[in-house]
Symmetry: C2
Subunit: 475 residues, 2 copies
C-alpha cells in the first residue's frame, strides 16, 4: 500500500481513537488545537484538520464553536454483548412466516425511516461508474450481448473474480467459477444440487430469514446451531450434531453473519473444514459481507483452507456495487458439474450484459478504491448508530459489535416483544427487523436487527430516539 497524505491523517486519527478507547482521553476532554497537533506531529494544518474531521464523522469527538474539539465518546458505557443462544433439541420443519412478508413489504416504503435492510442504499453505490462500465460492455460484447453467453458465465467476469480471489486468500482459475443471478441464486443452485427434499441442513442461529425460507421452499429441515456473537458457529456443538441429526450439508455465513455480525476466526475456519472432511459433508459458505470489513485486513474464508473441494463458496456484487444487476458467483469445488447442469436446466444462462459490465468495472481497478471508501463510511455509520443506541435505548440492552457488514443485533429485556414494537414503530414510520423472523423456533422475541446502512442524519437520529422511547414504554 502506498503511503499518501490520506493515510497520514488516518494514522493520526487512529492514534487518538486508541487513546479514547483506552479512556486516556475521556468524555469532555479537550483535544490539542489543530495548530498544536500539526506542530507536534510534524504534519500540515490540513492533515491535522482531516484527522479531526474523521474522528468527528465517527461521532468520537465534536467541535464546539470558538472553543475547539472535545471527546464525546466512551467505550465503557457501551451496552454489553448478547450471549450465545442456547441449543435446540430438534431439527425443525421450516414454515413460512407471515411476519417475513410483512417486514419485506415495509422495506420498500420510501416514507419510512428504515433500519430494515442488510444492504447498502443506492446513494452508497457507484451508479455513474457502473453505467459507464455498462456502455463499455455494450461495445465490447459480440452482437451487443443479444446472444446467449456460456452456461458457466461471462469468461471476462470469471477471470476478474479469479484475479480478485487473492484478496481472500484464494488461488483459483476462471474455470473454477460459475456465475449466478446474485448470491441468493448461487445459494439456491448449490443447495438444490447437494440436497434432497427431507434432508437436514445446519444453519447458524439466529440466521438470515431468506436462508430459512429458501430451505423451506426446497423441502429441507434445518438444525439451528448456537452461534457466538463474536466468533460465530459453535464448532464443538456442530461436531456432535452432524452425526446425531444426520446433517447432510452446512450453510454458514462465515464473515459478519446476518444478523449477529459474528466473524469466525481463521483457526475456527480451519477447524470447520476438518470437521467437514471428517464427515464428508459439504459447506455452502455465504461470504456476501466479507468485503465489508472495518479492520485492517479482509478476513479469510473456509474455502482457502479447503483442499478436498467440499466448500461451495458463494458471493455477489450486490452488497458493494449493484444489487439491481443481480451478478453473483460460486466456486462450487467438486460439485461444479452438478451446478452447471442445474443452472442449464433452470435458466439456460445468466443475462449477458450485467455480468459483462461488472467485469469492465473490475478490470479498471475502481473496485478496490470504491470498497475502501465504502468501508470507511460504513464503519463511521456503525459507530454513530451504536452510540445513539447507547444514548436512547434502556441501559440493560445488549448490542453486538460487528467488525463489518451492515447490521447490528440488539437484545432487550425479555418482557419486550419486538414484533409488537415493530407494529408500534411502523405507525410512527420507523421500521426494523424483529428478532423472531431469524429463527424457526419461538425465540429471539426480545431481539431486533438494526441496519446502519443509511447515512447518518437527523431523521435516523430521530428514528432511533423513537425506538428507544417505544422500548421503554413496552419494558
Amino acid at each position: 500500500m502506498i503511503k499518501t497524505a490520506e493515510h497520514l491523517y488516518i494514522q493520526i486519527a487512529e492514534k487518538l481513537e486508541l487513546l479514547i478507547e483506552k479512556e486516556v482521553l475521556k468524555i469532555g476532554d479537550k483535544l490539542p488545537s489543530v495548530r498544536t497537533m500539526s506542530e507536534e506531529q510534524g504534519v500540515s494544518m490540513s492533515t491535522a484538520f482531516q484527522a479531526y474531521y474523521h474522528l468527528e464523522s465517527k461521532g468520537l469527538i465534536e467541535s464546539r464553536p470558538k472553543s475547539g474539539y472535545y471527546v464525546i465518546f466512551s467505550p465503557r458505557r457501551l451496552p454489553e454483548m448478547p450471549k450465545k443462544c442456547e441449543a435446540v433439541r430438534d431439527a425443525c420443519e421450516v414454515s413460512v412466516h407471515e411476519m417475513i412478508s410483512t417486514v419485506s413489504q415495509s422495506m420498500s416504503n420510501q416514507e419510512i425511516t428504515r433500519f430494515t435492510s442488510a444492504a447498502p442504499p443506492e446513494s452508497l453505490l457507484p451508479a455513474a461508474k457502473i453505467s459507464k462500465a455498462m456502455i463499455q460492455a455494450l461495445r465490447k460484447t459480440p452482437y451487443a450481448g443479444v446472444g446467449y453467453e456460456p452456461v458457466q458465465g461471462n469468461p471476462g467476469l470469471r477471470r476478474q473474480i479469479a484475479r480478485h480471489s487473492v484478496l481472500w486468500g484464494g488461488a483459483v482459475s476462471e474455470d473454477d467459477v460459475v456465475t449466478t443471478s446474485g448470491c441468493m441464486d448461487a445459494l439456491t443452485l448449490c443447495l438444490s444440487a447437494i440436497t434432497q427434499p427431507g434432508d437436514t441442513i445446519a444453519l447458524e442461529s439466529p440466521s438470515y430469514y431468506g436462508s430459512l425460507q429458501l430451505a423451506e421452499s426446497l423441502g429441507l429441515k434445518v438444525l439451528e446451531v448456537p452461534t457466538d456473537p463474536t466468533t460465530g458457529v459453535d464448532l464443538d456443538y456442530l461436531d456432535k450434531a452432524i452425526p446425531r441429526h444426520k446433517i447432510k450439508a452446512c450453510l454458514f455465513v462465515t464473515n459478519f453473519t446476518n444478523p449477529l455480525g459474528a466473524c469466525m476466526p481463521d483457526k475456527h475456519k480451519q477447524q470447520l473444514v476438518r470437521i467437514l472432511e471428517k464427515y464428508e459433508i459439504p459447506l455452502i459458505e455465504d461470504d456476501i459481507y466479507g468485503d465489508m470489513y472495518f479492520g485492517k485486513e479482509r478476513p479469510a474464508v473456509c474455502k482457502s483452507f479447503d483442499t478436498s473441494g467440499l466448500v461451495l463458496l458463494c458471493n455477489s456484487f450486490s452488497k458493494s456495487v449493484a444489487p439491481g444487476y443481480r451478478v453473483g458467483w460460486t466456486l462450487p469445488g467438486r460439485y461444479k458439474e452438478k451446478i452447471l447442469q442445474m443452472k442449464r436446466n433452470h435458466s439456460i444462462s445468466s443475462p449477458s450484459l450485467p455480468g459483462a459490465a461488472i467485469a469492465c468495472f473490475l478490470e479498471n481497478g475502481r473496485y478496490e478504491h470504491h470498497l475502501r471508501s465504502m468501508r470507511k463510511i460504513l464503519h463511521t455509520q456503525y459507530m454513530r448508530h451504536l452510540q445513539a443506541i447507547r444514548d436512547y435505548f434502556p441501559e440493560d440492552c445488549c448490542v453486538t459489535r460487528p467488525q463489518g457488514g451492515f447490521v447490528l443485533w440488539v437484545e432487550l429485556d425479555p418482557a419486550v416483544n419486538t414484533y409488537e414494537l415493530y407494529e408500534l414503530a411502523l405507525r410512527q414510520k420507523v421500521s426494523f427487523a424483529p428478532g423472531r423472523i431469524f429463527s424457526l423456533q419461538d425465540r429471539y422475541n426480545n431481539c431486533m436487527r438494526i441496519s446502519y446502512s443509511n447515512p447518518w442524519s437527523k431523521q435516523i437520529d430521530d428514528g432511533l430516539k423513537t425506538l428507544g422511547r417505544l422500548i421503554r414504554k413496552l419494558a
Copy 2:
C-alpha cells in the same frame, strides 16, 4: 392493416404461390416476363420484380440468365407427415441423458454447421436497436438501475407486456404479470410452485428435452401424451389419463411445439381449458414460439379461454429480441402469490436493466415491425430447408410442416439410428438434435430435429446434402 406497395407485391406473390401449390404451375414451367406481369396486373415493373424476388427467396422459382423465371418447386413431391406417436403404458421417472449434454456442447461450436438450435442466430436479432434501448434504460432508471427492482418486476415492462397481450387475445393488467429470467426460469418457478417432488405431470411427446430435464431436477414423474404433428396433444387421451395417472399439472407448448411444430387449433385450446376445469388442475402454457407464426394471424393461447385462473402462461423475448438478455414473464393466474414468494426466495428480484431495456424497445413500436420481418425470413428459410430435405433425403422419410417456430422434425426409416447418424455427422462438422433426447422412453431413435433458423447459404445446403448422404449410408 394499411395496404402499401409492400403488400401489393406480397399479394401477387401469394397468388402465384397458390398456383404452384395447386400444381397449376408445375416444375419447369416458365412464368410470364416481368413486363407482362406488370401490364397484366396493372402494377409497376418494380412491384412485379419484388414479387418474383420474394418467390425466388422462398425457393419456389429461379431466375435463369437471359431466359426468365421458372418454377422449381412441387408440393406433391414433398415427404409425408409423420404419424402421431403411440401412447405409453406408464409415467416415467426422469433420468438425465448424457446425450443431451453432448448435443448441448456441440451447439456452441462455431466451426460446425448447426441444425441444432431452436433459437434465432444473432444475425436475425435487432442488436443495434436493443443497444439503443439499453442506453435509454440507463438514463431512465433511477440510480441507473443499481438498486433492487420490485420482486414482481419492472413496472414499465409489465405495462408493455400487458399492452401487447391483445395480440394473443388477452386483456390483462400489469399487475397480473410477473417477470422472470427468461422463459425457462418462468417454467421453473411455475412448476416449483404448483408441484411437489414425486408428482406426475403431463408433457406432449416428443417434448423439448429442457422440459424433461427440468422435471427431473424437481423430482417429478412425466407422462408423455401422444401428440399429432398438426394439432398437438391428443385431448381424448389426456382426458382419460389425468385421473388414471393422477396428473397434478400439464406443461404444454400450445403453439408450434418443439420439436414437432404442432399448433393446437382454437377449439382444442378451449376444450383443453374445460378439461383442466373439470379436474381442477393447472396448465403451464409455454408460448415461447407463438409470435413466430407464418400465417396471417397470431394463434391464440389457452390463457385467453381461461376464466378460472388455472393457466400459467409463460413467455419471453428470447426467441425474438435478445436471448442473452434473459427477460421472460409469466401470467400465473391464481398462483401469483406463490410465484412471487418463490421468486423472492430464489433470487430476490430480476436484474433491473435488461428488463428496462426491453420495455424501452417495446414502447417505441419497433417490436411489431421487427417481428414482421423476422417471420418472413423464417418462413422463407423453412421452405428452403424443406425443399433441400426433399431433394437430398431418402424418399420414404416423413417431415412435419410447422406453421411457425424454428424447427422441423424428420422421421426416417426405422433402421436408421439418428444418434449414430449424429456422431457420423459431427465428424463431418454437421450437427442436429437426435430424436431420442425428446423422450424418456426408448423411442424416436429414427427421428431428428432440424433447425431452419440459420440463413440459407451454400454451407447450409452442403450440410443437408451431407446428412442425406449419411442417412442413405445407414439405411
